[in-house]
């Protein structure tokens, strides 16, 4: 089975997010970048499928040279090879177009994306990629079994889950549940050493245009100081929730 895992290169979840002085963009100074947490679940699932059924796992990121450290980490975790689509994306549909152009005709049986990239929180790339490749799509995927070219899946829906079946090739938008937290892999020394010699191809873009643009970014207004309420006087909390906050 030929598996492609699409990886977004994002600020670590503990990063303090700052914007450049004019508010035009993220200020990357001092920010540690990591594999998008949703994509870590997908990468692990891909490696498990490869181990049980044979095949290859390729990771791809559309980004400039700064994303290569993230791709190397994915190689150290166990991917066979990496591809970098060379440029700086600014929009989800542009990312989906470039990924589709790259993947089209390569014969991937399964393309695993994350449900969402925790930087721009678009949640758009996976579905747009499936539409462009004209293949089945399951979002918020929390379970995946493959037998031959048949996939049995579980997706999260509001307040529950749904079972589905589909035929490969397909695209999924995955999340925790695809594998459990405890199954995630940390690169070991051998992995890190072999990652250095695994192929990382740099591919030119097809030149897809962005459809949206970020005009400015700002931080949310800070909260006012907390009003502490004595634990012995919960009627007062109820009163404030009713009269002040007007939420009950």
């Amino acid at each position: 089975m030929k598996i492609l895992v699409c990886i977004s290169h994002v600020p670590d979840t503990t990063a303090k997010i700052q914007f450049t002085a004019n508010g035009a963009a993220l200020d990357p100074a001092g920010v540690q970048f990591v594999i998008n947490p949703y994509d870590e679940f997908g990468l692990t699932k891909a490696l498990q499928l490869k181990e049980s059924q044979g095949g290859t796992v390729t990771v791809v990121t559309y980004g400039d040279a700064s994303v290569e450290a993230t791709l190397r980490k994915a190689l150290a975790i166990g991917a066979d090879d990496a591809v970098r689509l060379d440029g700086v994306p600014t929009d989800a549909l542009q990312v989906a177009s470039e990924l589709a152009t790259y993947a089209d005709g390569q014969g991937y049986d399964l393309i695993i994306c994350g449900q969402e990239s925790i930087d721009y929180n678009g949640g758009i790339v996976p579905g747009a990629l499936a539409a462009k490749l004209d293949v089945p799509f399951v979002n918020a995927c929390i379970g995946l079994e493959i037998s031959g070219s048949n996939a049995t899946l579980l997706r999260e829906m509001d307040g529950g889950k749904e079972e589905l079946t589909a035929t490969l090739p397909m695209v999924i938008g995955g999340k925790k549940g695809l594998v459990e937290e405890s199954e995630l892999r940390i690169p070991n020394m051998r992995g890190i050493m072999t990652a250095r010699t695994k192929p990382l191809a740099v591919t030119a873009l097809a030149g897809a245009a962005a459809t949206t643009s970020a005009l400015s970014f700002a931080k949310p207004a800070p909260k006012a100081a907390v009003q502490l309420i004595d634990a012995s006087n919960l009627d007062e909390l109820v009163r404030r929730l009713h009269e002040e906050a007007k939420v009950i």
């Binding site: 600020p11 979840t13 503990t14 997010i17 993220l26 947490p37 949703y38 989800a92 549909l93 925790i118 930087d119 721009y120 929180n121 678009g122 949640g123 758009i124 996976p126 579905g127 747009a128 499936a130 539409a131 089945p136 799509f137 399951v138 979002n139 918020a140 899946l153 999260e156 829906m157 509001d158 307040g159 529950g160 889950k161 749904e162 079972e163 589909a166 397909m170 925790k176 459809t211 949206t212 970020a214 005009l215 970014f217 700002a218 931080k219 949310p220 006012a224 907390v226 009003q227 502490l228 309420i229 004595d230 634990a231 919960l234 009627d235 909390l237 929730l241 906050a245 939420v247 009950i248």
Partner: protein, 316 residues
């Protein structure tokens, strides 16, 4: 015109649908155009009643009772093309999010998701959205003739925007999907995140899964959904579908009550959009108090039952 996906579940409009219709109606009004809602499959209430939220017309597509993202996106993009939609409005429910990217690609539309306000301009379409897991507020504009807007549930509220009944039109459509949905397992009687207007959430401070009865009682009194921190779902005390935060469900309720949750940055990232936050924690130094509107320093096992009783007394 503005096209709105009026999502239903079990033959009823979802609560977020009223919000989406109202949003679409406001967009239409600002552009001097028309808001048309699309209902798919069986729907118990009269579809005309969406007029109360500002829809001028409702197109009722018969032929499918089961959500399938490709099939729904195909039907909506065909309608958008036929009617010349300038915006397609979806709510950020599980199904809305499943369909957004497909629909945008099919309609050759730009897509702005996580939308938290009405557009500030329509030429070019410019709207506020949340980014970096609520750590940033972005002003985003679209360069395409048609734009898909995906709303954050609960960001705008559902106040009525019109008073008339909408015109209704039935159509039969052949829905062709690419996946085959099987059994759905949805807990009945629970208020699904992220639509819940009130959420009661608990963390590792609850010590074990057996203690969730009191959390559920508190939630029931408030007509609230229940949520939990990530470790609680990782250990299996609660289902994954309740995990909120940066890597879980992101919520924006009117009221968020966090009990025995320390307030780690990844947790706050998914809940800080809540209008009012109440924190109950026995450690006065818990970081969550810095992000709270109201705080109670106390033992959860003592505070929860008494808060439930106080709320019951108030709500009666």
């Amino acid at each position: 015109m503005v096209l709105i996906f009026a999502e239903t579940w079990n033959g009823q409009f979802k609560k977020s649908t009223f919000e989406a219709v109202r949003y679409g109606a406001e967009c239409a009004k600002a552009q001097g155009s028309q808001a048309i809602a699309v209902v798919v499959g069986s729907c118990e209430p009269l579809v005309e009643t969406l007029g109360a939220y500002g829809a001028a017309k409702v197109i009722h597509l018969k032929g499918s009772d089961r959500f399938e993202p490709h099939a729904y996106a195909t039907a909506l993009s065909a309608l958008a093309a036929e009617l010349g939609a300038t915006q397609i409005v979806l709510n950020g429910t599980a199904n809305g999010k499943s369909m957004a990217g497909l629909l945008a690609a099919m309609a050759q539309a730009g897509c702005i998701s996580n939308v938290t306000a009405l557009p500030s301009s329509f030429s070019p379409l410019t709207v506020q959205r949340s980014a970096f897991s609520s750590k940033g507020i972005e002003q985003c504009s679209s360069q395409t003739a048609c734009t898909v807007l995906v709303l954050v549930p609960n960001a705008l509220g559902t106040g009525p925007a019109g008073s008339d009944q909408a015109a209704a039109e039935d159509r039969n459509v052949a829905f062709v999907g690419k996946t085959t949905p099987g059994a759905a397992h949805v807990a009945s009687g629970k208020i699904p995140l992220p639509e819940a207007e009130r959420v009661v959430s608990a963390g590792r401070g609850m010590k074990g899964p057996d203690h969730w009865g009191m959390v559920e009682e508190l939630a029931a009194v408030l007509n609230a959904g229940t949520a939990c921190s990530k470790p609680v779902s990782d250990i299996g005390w609660r289902p994954h579908s309740e995990h909120v935060g940066q890597t879980g469900i992101q919520i924006n309720p009117q009221l968020y009550i966090a009990i025995g949750i320390s307030g780690a940055i990844q947790h706050l990232a998914g809940v800080s959009g809540s209008k009012t936050i109440v924190v109950i924690n026995n450690d006065p130094e818990a970081p969550f108090f810095k992000a709270a509107d109201y705080g109670v320093v106390g033992d959860a096992f003592d505070v929860i039952p008494r808060l439930t009783a106080a709320l019951k007394a108030h709500l009666n």
